[in-house]
């Protein structure tokens, strides 16, 4: 210790000091010369909303995550939209539409006098240019990691073999767009309200190379357009994205065709940590954030914040995979699981206010929801008896649950797991818990059918049964792995037939029947609960209309003085 420096070693220190100071001053002035303040006049009313993650990009076509859509939704519109506060379709960029008898030709009457943010005109050519762009994706653009909603809704692309729902787009005149489909689909026209199908400016997309997506290392690099120049028709337009300060600024579109936005600026501040979002709201740094922890809701209300609880439009289920554990292929065993689970207690103890126990795989606001389905009330004794009958008294199951995640339908995975595994044990089922990080193996393993019994859920994209049960059981080799079941293929076929039925009444009847069978003869999984996601704002925020699709538009929002 104490490496004593000989006192004689230092040079003329004063001289060096002067030189250093001079250099620093020089550096500072030269830097200041090239760093001019870019500040403009102060911009009036600004609302700051806390976002949970950085958006991937601002081109909604390549996105499938809520954080991206929350931002692009303010800047862009599709042909159809959703009525505020509901999941019902309403006119947006199309004023009206009609379909042909067989459901394959859709004619849209477009709104006139609408301009994109870059000043170019919105017309039928622009609409068809967008459809053609989507359909003609190549290379990485065809990947589900990018064009998820296109693949989900329209199937394939121009250049691959998978059949596509999309056939062509015609422009009889500049205010009419005619969409030809290869077959009828229950998804129409609701799916066109998805954020991914927002109509963007063809001029801007061309200028900034919107389709230039490249695979690089372990991910994709997006185009100049998607990062800096998103151009739509909405009430807000893109201002800037400060990546180092993690904030996105949108400004009011002064030339908006409809009711103009109240706010001058809308800022999204990215705060990944849930508790930090809450503290930031408490200290006045942000004006609101989405999905407050259910445990915080009453506290936030007590402190004078507005907590709005949306109508539930999601489902939490206890998934069952028939892939590896043969016992789970026995309907009696699955019924025993359904009997063992105490949904009422789960909802009361682990779910936020307003949550409801679920009977079916989607909420009753969606079409084809029969009230008279087979129900399996909580009955541990009956569960035990069923297991005995099936010869599985000593049933042991792997029960999977995710860590490092909360979802609107699953606010507290650990709490839910604790409650359910207690229920199962009570019915004499041995539970082997398996927990994995959500992104660290949980999702990928569950999707391969590796998890025997698991927690998962879904938030609806739009009001269609297909968006729920079509996604769940349309394939026999996914998380539920219904392949070995005698009815697995049959269920998938029935779902496909219902989706392709052109007559709405007949279609609804088909879905109703499928729902009945799902509860009486299939029971591929156990619906647990619909839980309403909440959104919290400071008391100054007025005019926020919540959406069951969690698709709020901030244009009508204003800040009280």
């Amino acid at each position: 210790m104490g490496v004593g420096r000989p006192p004689g070693l230092r040079a003329s220190r004063t001289g060096r000091r002067i030189a250093t100071a001079g250099l620093a001053a020089l550096l500072a002035t030269s830097l200041a010369a090239c760093v001019q303040s870019q500040r403009e006049g102060d911009g009036g009313r600004t609302m700051v909303f806390g976002a949970a993650g950085a958006p991937a990009l601002f081109d909604p076509f390549y996105a499938s995550d809520g954080e991206t859509f929350r931002v692009t939704r303010q800047m862009m519109e599709g042909l159809v939209g959703f009525e505020p506060g509901t999941a019902e379709v309403e006119p947006a960029l199309a004023e009206s539409w009609e379909s042909s008898e067989d459901g394959t030709e859709w004619t849209f009457q477009l709104r006139e006098g609408v301009e994109f943010h870059d000043g170019t005109e919105f017309d039928a050519d622009a609409v068809c240019a967008n459809f053609e762009r989507w359909y003609n994706q190549t290379g990485p653009g065809q990947n589900a990691a990018l064009s998820y909603y296109w693949i989900e809704t329209f199937g394939g692309f121009a250049s691959d073999d998978d059949p596509s729902l999309y056939s062509s787009c015609e422009t009889p005149d500049q205010s009419t767009a005619v969409l030809e489909l290869t077959r009828p689909s229950s998804k129409f026209p609701d799916a066109l309200g998805l954020d991914s199908f927002s109509i963007q400016s063809p001029t801007a997309m061309e200028e900034y190379g919107a389709d230039e997506v490249t695979a690089r290392g372990s991910s994709f690099e997006y185009s100049e357009y998607a990062k800096q120049h998103p151009t739509g028709t909405g009430p807000f337009e893109f201002d800037s994205y400060d990546e180092s300060n993690q904030s996105i600024v949108l400004r009011r579109n002064e030339d908006y065709w409809g009711e103009k936005a109240e706010l001058d600026r809308l800022v999204f501040k990215i705060i990944p940590d849930e508790s930090v979002r809450k503290q930031e709201l408490l200290s006045g740094g942000i004006d609101g954030y989405d999905f407050p922890n259910p445990a915080d809701i009453s506290g936030l209300r007590d402190q004078g914040f507005d907590v709005q609880v949306r109508d539930p439009f999601n489902i939490l289920y206890l998934g069952i995979s028939q892939r590896s554990n043969p016992a789970l292929r026995d309907l009696r065993v699955r019924e025993a699981l359904a009997r063992a689970v105490d949904k009422e207690n789960l909802v009361e103890a682990n779910m936020p206010d307003g949550a409801e126990p679920a009977e079916l795989f989607y909420p009753d606001s969606v079409d084809g929801y029969p009230e008279d389905v087979t129900k399996y009330p909580h009955d541990p004794q009956r569960a035990k008896q069923l297991l005995r009958e099936a010869g599985h008294q000593d049933l042991t199951i792997e029960f999977w649950w995710p860590t490092q995640v909360t979802r609107p339908y699953m606010p507290d995975p650990r709490g839910i797991f604790n409650a359910l595994s207690g229920d199962l044990e009570e019915a004499g089922i041995n539970v082997e818990p398996v927990s994995k990080p959500w992104n660290g193996g949980y999702i990928s393993d569950v999707n391969q059918g590796k998890a025997e019994v698991f927690l998962l859920g879904w938030t609806g994209d739009y009001n269609s049964p297909d968006n729920f049960i079509g996604t769940f059981f349309g394939s026999t080799q996914n998380q539920f792995y219904t392949e070995p079941a005698p009815w697995g293929g049959e269920l998938a076929e029935r779902l496909e037939a219902a989706d392709g039925e052109a007559d709405p009444a007949a279609r609804e009847e088909m879905y109703t029947e499928i729902n009945r069978s799902l509860k009486s003869e299939y029971l591929p999984a156990i619906p647990l609960a619909h839980s309403p996601p909440a959104i919290v704002t400071s008391s100054e925020v007025e005019g926020l209309v919540t959406s069951p699709l969690t698709a709020e538009r901030f244009a009508p929002v204003s800040l009280r003085q």
Binding site: M1, G2, V3, G4, R5, P7, A28, L31, A32, C34, V35, S37, Q38, R39, D42, T46, V48, A54, P55, A56, L57, D65, N143, A144, A145, Y148, E152, A215, R216, G217, S218, S219, F220, E221, A226, E243, S244, N245, V249, V267, K269, I271, P272, D273, V276, Q279, E280, S283, G285, Q404, P437, N439, G441, I443, S444, N447, L456, S475, Q477, N478
Partner: protein, 336 residues
């Protein structure tokens, strides 16, 4: 000296290579991976396979490693998947580095400004009340988990008192120009003094939380050095020459005690980075600490690779500079 420097630099390269191999293997051993991160809960087997193919993740590991090295030497570490999706990982690192540097420098500054004088006076009056008090403080400082202290400070000063901002680097409603990425510096350079002040206020609480451990170390080293130096021959000589107490203190004791202190500051780089991961999380500071914890949560290979490699390199480089400085002063060290 030149040969010593060259040898040390050579060793640096070896560490970098070994680290990059370890890192590469480690990232591939992590559960999950970029494919799950990109596809999320909507993944199907088919889309997974397609993505693995497109990203070249189905090639043999050594091929992937070689490609990684080839790209890495040009500064290309791939694109972020979770922290800042779509942005090149190197860019993410460069964007976030200034925030962490700013925070660490201020924390270190706080630690020095408080720790050195306290250590000096405590050392001069060994066993006095100031000595005992500061020793107790430094011991408790080490025993308190950094993130808990950060929460405590935030709760009291930001939420209860509302005196300081609760999180972030700068008020987003301040339309500030960010040229260098160092917000305080930016504000000063452009003359946007309100922006600079605002950024500085945002730094205070996290820096205070982060400074406790360097403070404890610097305080103790200063104190110990002062004790050591007071015993040294040249101080006794100076005394016997009849030099005034103030001259002795100022010219000899303090200056000679500063040397080990300066080394210790170099040493604190690692501790500061560890602490930054936690503090940045609590205060939502968009630095590399937050990038790391987000990178882990969201399986962002590219960002983890850059950040770990770069921080380790910075750490090693800082130590190299300190060692070289030492070697320049004391030739004996070169032989070891």
């Amino acid at each position: 000296m030149l040969r010593y420097t060259v040898r040390r630099l050579g060793q640096l390269v070896i560490v970098a290579v070994v680290l990059s191999i370890l890192l590469f293997g480690w990232l591939r051993a992590l559960p999950g991976g970029p494919v799950s991160a990109l596809l999320g809960e909507r993944a199907t087997e088919e889309s997974r396979a397609q993505l693995v193919e497109q990203l070249g993740l189905n090639q043999p590991l050594h091929v992937q490693y070689w490609k990684f090295v080839q790209r890495a030497v040009t500064g290309d570490f791939g694109v972020s998947t979770g922290v800042q999706p779509g942005t090149p990982a190197m860019e993410v690192f460069l964007q976030r580095m200034p925030a962490t540097l700013e925070l660490s420098v201020l924390a270190l500054l706080l630690a020095v400004v408080v720790g050195v004088p306290l250590g000096y006076f405590a050392g001069r009056r060994q066993g006095g009340w100031l000595d005992n008090l500061s020793i107790t403080w430094s011991l408790i400082g080490v025993a308190v988990p950094v993130f808990f202290l950060a929460f405590l400070l935030k709760y009291v000063f930001a939420i209860e008192l509302g005196a300081l901002p609760a999180s972030g680097r700068q008020e987003v409603s301040i339309d500030a120009t960010h040229a260098t990425g160092f917000y305080v510096l930016d504000g000063m350079l452009t003359g946007e003094w309100d922006a600079a002040w605002n950024a500085f206020l945002h730094l205070l609480l996290p820096a205070a939380a982060l400074s406790t451990i360097p403070f404890a170390v610097i305080f103790r080293i200063t104190r110990a050095s002062v004790l050591d130096v007071l015993e040294e021959d040249f101080v006794r000589t100076a005394r016997s020459k009849g030099l005034g107490a103030r001259v002795i203190r100022g010219r000899h004791v303090l200056r000679n005690a500063m040397l080990p202190v300066v080394t210790t500051i170099g040493l604190q780089t690692g501790a500061l980075l560890s602490g930054a991961v936690l503090t940045e999380q609590v205060f939502n500071i968009t630095g590399i600490g937050q990038a790391l914890s987000l990178g882990f949560q969201r399986q962002d290979y590219a960002v983890l690779q850059v950040v770990i490699l770069a921080t380790a390199m910075v750490y090693v480089l800082v130590n190299l500079v300190v060692d070289l400085t030492y070697a320049a002063i004391d030739p004996r060290l070169r032989e070891r």
